[in-house]
Amino acid sequence: MSGFLTIVLITLVFIIIYQIAKASEYASVLRGKEKVERQTNRTIAWLLVAFFFLGLWGIWECHQALKDKMLPVSASEHGVQYDMMLTVTLAVTGIVFFATQTVLFWFAFRYQSTEKRTSFYYPHNNKLELIWTTIPAIVMAGLVVIGLRNWFAMTAAAPADAQVVEVVGKQFNWIIRYPGGDNILGKRDFRKINDANNVLGLDWEDKANMDDIIAENGELHLIVNKPVKLIIGSRDVIHDVGLPHFRMKMDAVPGIITTMWFTPTITSAEMKQKTGNPDFVYEISCDQMCGKGHYSMRGTVIVETEAEHKAWMAKQVAYYATMNAPAEPAAPQAEADTTHSITMN
């Protein structure tokens, strides 16, 4: 019933608006078309001016309300460069934005039609065209240079001492694999995947896999100030590892291995203080639409000191040991830890 009433009400409002609009049309015929047109022209010119100033005020208010939420503190080394480049680009485009919008609204108001005005026949001026072809080209060249310098720095090969971690996306969560003591990620094969006991399809023929550690809860533990190289893959559809605080993003594509590296510079604990938010957590968002659970595909990043990381790592059990614990005679210790890590999960 209320739905019906709403529809009736909306229809009525539309009819009223339409009737008023129609009436104004008849009125203009009665009062003399020319005179009404002049009046309308003036009104609209002033309305556009009002729009312009309200717009400026709106931009100011919007900025005041949102500037603190806009860009989270950069928590990676290159993120600082990124923020600088963003600021430069914002400044350049901001200047152009305000200049051109002001000119647009100014000209519109200044050269509104009046009885006395005639337009100025001005079809072309090659010098002007040359000026406003060259200037944007130079500015763009500048932005390209800054951009490419950063781009090549970000996409350069990771330092040799980087921590290596694999991140694999699946509908709808992230699986993290650490290389274990040998620091080598063993081979994996999608045909060997089994959700019960081999979520990444590790090839047990490859001995490098034996000590690999898998975190199915999507928790990525990193060491502060130590470069990390992520080896990114996907089990099913395309996902994307999005790390807003680290200013990084890379697709996870089935059948293709992608990589990215960065150096986290602020631990999670420090970040909680910095933001004043005790619940603060670095998040991994999936940034490539991957199905109905796309919005819930959340991972977390824990940045900790080297000592903390060591302590945490020591508590982890190799995936092979976890899955084959009962059959392994040599791993009573590991079994105890497994239950521990499961409760943690």
């Binding site: 739905g3 339409y18 049309e25 047109e37 609209i44 556009l48 931009i59 949102l66 860009l71 989270p72 990124y82 480049m85 680009t89 350049v92 934005f97 051109t100 919008q101 647009l104 000209f107 050269y111 509104q112 009046t114 005639t118 337009s119 001005y122 079809p123 072309h124 944007p136 763009m140 932005l143 390209v144 951009g147 950063n150 781009w151 699946k170 509908q171 089990r235 099913d236 559809v237 395309i238 994307d240 999005g242 605080h245 993003k249 594509v253 089935p254 059948g255 293709i256 992608t258 998040e283 968002s285 999936c286 940034d287 639409m289 109905k292 659970g293 796309h294 919005y295 819930s296 959340r298």
Partner: protein, 606 residues
């Protein structure tokens, strides 16, 4: 109607030989069906495209209201949605599956059905023959087919909304493997097949139309109408057609491979996939290949959407400022620049797919290069209104709004085209804000400017001005209110295409803002209904045209009678003696000289 019969009854004498063979049909009383349904008259086909486009636009906009309700009020229920969507919104709460279907359909409908078919389908059909002085298209029959293929595409797409597993829901870009595998998503079932069939038909429609537009412009210009005397609308529509003809076939090939992967067991896009509890046999394909094929159209598509708006805004700005467009040749050269560059920048949508950084750097360079012709256009528009005599008619305010929005949306492209910045902004709300302002709202403003400007030509009546101004100010303000704050969300890294942000520590802070944006979106939706009502009521009840050239325009379409019949000019086709922008003193107190007026002695003509 009376003069239509006269036109068709009279034997038409031809001024220009090349037109004789294209005319000569339909010298009899026409049946309703051949006149309004299976019509070969370009003007009727234009109206068909426009009205179909408007219907789709309402559907697409309504979908955005539905998903904005979810985004703005994730914890509330809206029983009214259940009335519309049934089981997809049980208890008034949108299901995630259908949220994604709505997002996908909103994109597909608006990008292809409204801003491609509805925009260039309408205005290329209406304006090309009228403005170059032709009686119809090069092939009126192919032109008719173009509309009916679009209609068939529409039917398939519409049907797909009602299948049990829902319409396609992999985003308007439908990236495989998500779109290729039924196990990956409900919408990748029958809905996706229908989507592909519909889009294939759509490509056919677009190609039939585009080829026709190109050949008409190249071959059927009236005497005196050299290429450099054509209005910029025709130039813009010409390059739109060129872009479509060169890029849509690539999209179709991408779709054909996708159909094969979906139904015939090939592995073009699929490799090493474990889904639905089993490993699939596909090995060796590349999911990225699809993205290359898609964006090879996808990027030119952006300009297919933008160029008609640019052309119409140029025409409207010049006409209502009573001034020639500034830098006519620079405008054409920048159109050429945009058209060429449009084909060389597609991979800027793929900076984070793991592509070679070196290749990425080339695309950065070429992408930012597009800013140059775009800037030239903006400066030329600004100089066009400088020292003009501006009449703030409804089309004019929309054209001014177009320029404002084009600047706002264009500038944010500089962020996204620079890969080092894109790496953080990619697939966030920043992208949504950018492309909605520039190719969404701005293109719509170009389209509205065109509709309000040429409505008198189409229907012999005016649209209501007051409603037009209400429509303009609500939409202009509303568009900025919706999309401006989204930049902030994007810079914070908030990903697009999320159903719910409440579980995210980094993004839930924007809940209040999302609510605000949803209110603005609903406001803008109702503002569009003002337009729709104005449009349809004015067809029948609008103020009648008495002057065949109500805007004081120089171009040829206004030399036809009010409500021209098939063949456009009752007598000879007018001959053209000057360029399309002679807005200057005609010596008798008028402020424009139509293209048909011969040069006065001693006058220098363009």
């Amino acid at each position: 109607m009376a003069n239509q019969v006269i036109i068709e009854g009279t034997h038409v004498a031809h001024a220009h030989e090349s037109h004789t063979e294209h005319h000569g049909h339909e010298h009899h009383e026409q049946h309703f069906i051949t006149k309004y349904i299976f019509s070969q008259d370009h003007k009727v086909i234009a109206k068909q495209f426009l009205i179909t486009g408007i219907i789709w636009a309402i559907i697409g906009a309504l979908f955005s209201v539905f998903f904005r309700l979810q985004l703005g009020f994730p914890n509330e229920t809206f029983p009214i949605m259940e009335k519309f969507l049934g089981e997809w919104a049980k208890g008034g709460k949108l299901s995630p599956e259908f949220y994604y279907a709505l997002v996908t359909m909103h994109g597909t409908i608006l990008v292809f059905f409204v801003l491609t078919a509805g925009l260039s389908g309408t205005f290329a059909n209406l304006l090309i023959p009228l403005q170059i002085g032709a009686r119809d298209m090069a092939s009126p029959f192919m032109n008719m087919l173009s509309y009916w293929f679009f209609f068939a595409a529409s039917v398939f797409m519409f049907v797909s909304l009602f299948v049990q597993t829902g319409p396609a829901s992999g985003g308007w870009t439908t990236y495989p493997p998500l779109s290729a595998l039924k196990e990956a998503s409900l919408g990748s079932g029958l809905g996706m097949d229908l989507w592909l069939v519909s889009m294939a038909l759509f490509v056919v429609s677009s190609l039939l139309g585009g080829l026709n537009y190109i050949s008409t412009i190249l071959n059927m210009r009236t005497k005196g109408m050299s290429m450099t005397r054509m209005p910029l609308t025709v130039w813009a529509l010409f390059f739109t057609a060129v872009l479509g003809v060169l890029s849509f076939p690539v999209l179709l090939s991408g779709f054909v491979l996708l159909i094969f992967d979906r139904n015939f067991g090939t592995s073009f896009y699929l490799s090493e996939i474990f889904i639905g509890g089993k490993a699939l046999p596909h090995v060796g394909g590349s999911a990225i290949l699809y993205q290359h094929l898609f964006w090879f159209l996808g990027h030119p598509e952006v300009y297919i959407i933008m160029l008609p708006g640019m052309g119409m805004a140029s025409e409207v700005l010049a006409n209502h400022s009573r001034k020639p467009i500034f830098g006519y040749f620079a405008m054409i050269i920048s159109l050429i620049g945009i058209t060429v560059l449009a084909f060389l920048v597609w991979a800027h949508h793929m900076f984070v797919t793991g592509m070679s950084p070196f290749l990425g750097s080339i695309f950065v360079l070429l992408t930012l290069l597009i800013a140059v012709p775009s800037a030239v256009k903006v400066f030329n528009w600004l100089t066009t209104i400088w020292r003009g005599n501006i009449r703030f008619t409804v089309p004019m305010v929309f054209a001014l709004g177009f320029v404002s929005l084009f600047i706002s949306g264009g500038l944010t492209g500089i962020f996204l085209g620079n890969s080092a910045l894109d790496i953080h902004l990619h697939d966030t709300y920043f992208v949504i804000a950018h492309f909605h302002i520039v190719m969404g709202v701005s293109a719509f403003f170009g389209m509205f400017a065109g509709i309000y400007h040429w409505f008198p030509k189409m229907f012999g009546r005016f649209m209501n001005n007051t409603l037009g101004y209400i429509h303009f100010f609500l939409t202009f303000a509303g568009a900025y209110l919706i999309f401006w704050p989204m930049h902030y969300e994007g810079i914070a890294g908030m990903p697009r295409r999320y159903y719910d942000y409440t579980a995210w520590e980094s993004f839930k802070q924007f809940q209040g803002l999302n609510e605000f944006i949803s209110y603005a979106a609903i406001l803008v939706f109702f503002a569009q209904l003002v337009f729709v009502i104005n449009f349809f009521v004015s067809i029948f009840r609008g103020r009648k045209l008495t002057n065949p050239n109500p805007w004081g325009a120089t171009t040829l379409e206004w030399t036809t009678p009010i409500n021209p019949g098939h063949g456009n000019w009752p007598g000879e086709i007018p001959e053209v003696h000057r360029w399309a922008y002679d807005y200057k003193d005609d010596g008798n107190g008028g402020d424009f000289i139509p293209q048909t007026v011969p040069a006065r002695p001693g006058e220098e003509v363009h």
